[in-house]
Symmetry: C2
Subunit: 144 residues, 2 copies
């Protein structure tokens, strides 16, 4: 299942790569995991991979366009499967919940602003931080 993607981007099909891809694909691929998260997950399932390998593989995946790297508050990078369409993120400062959204109004406005300033827009990073009013929001600091 994951071997096709690996071959496509010219990476050898190895166990660590397959496993990491599988972890990212869980729950529909809409996860945002740190390298450490993935490493722990591997260890938990009895795999013998080094943290360095996790970082190396994730970087290769990013270069290959398989995953996207984000820099949310908190120092560490988080990775998610590249699901094709671009999206931005909103995350809860209380419980760390992350939701994705796409908004054409904002996308369009960004291009206009870039043009006004004499820039050709290449990419952007938009992250909204807030408190989710969900009753089941466990009011504790985010895991990452």
């Amino acid at each position: 299942m994951g071997s096709k993607e690996l071959k496509q981007v010219g990476l050898k099909v190895t166990l660590p790569r397959m496993k990491i891809l599988a972890i990212l694909q869980e729950h529909g691929g809409a996860q945002h995991l740190s390298a450490e998260d993935i490493y722990k997950s591997l260890i938990a399932s009895g795999e013998e991979v080094g943290l360095a390998t996790v970082y190396r593989v994730l970087t290769q995946f990013e270069t290959a366009g398989l995953v996207k790297r984000h820099h949310f508050e908190g120092g560490q990078s988080v990775f998610e499967l590249n699901q094709g369409e671009h999206h931005d993120h909103i995350l809860c400062l209380q419980c760390g919940r992350i939701e994705e959204f796409v908004d054409e109004v904002i996308e369009t406005r960004q291009r206009e602003i870039a043009a006004q300033h004499g820039f050709r827009l290449a990419e952007h990073s938009l992250i909204l931080y807030g408190n989710c009013t969900n009753p089941d929001c466990p009011h504790r600091p985010p895991t990452h």
Copy 2:
């Protein structure tokens, strides 16, 4: 001139703090400097400050609301004087030029999106990355 701000926020008026404030205020206060930048600037002007002090002071300034910290691409944090009104940034991937902008359309839309997802919006980070078409853009990698 900077001593007033320091007293206001309950920090003792010391030479390192005055100097760092002065550096941030240069060029109208619209600079985006890393701790290292500021440290080098101090050293260059013959001051005997430690890098640790620069970090400590910047963190205190941030807590006091005197400066804002941003996480642009590149690992290090950059600091700018808190000029009161919120704004976002657009920066050139080629020359590192940074421009600031405010857009009500985007601001409003962000609040709407947050509300739609059941979030009370606390803050946000919006950074546009592009290539500035300025003829004098020195096509080399950004300094930070």
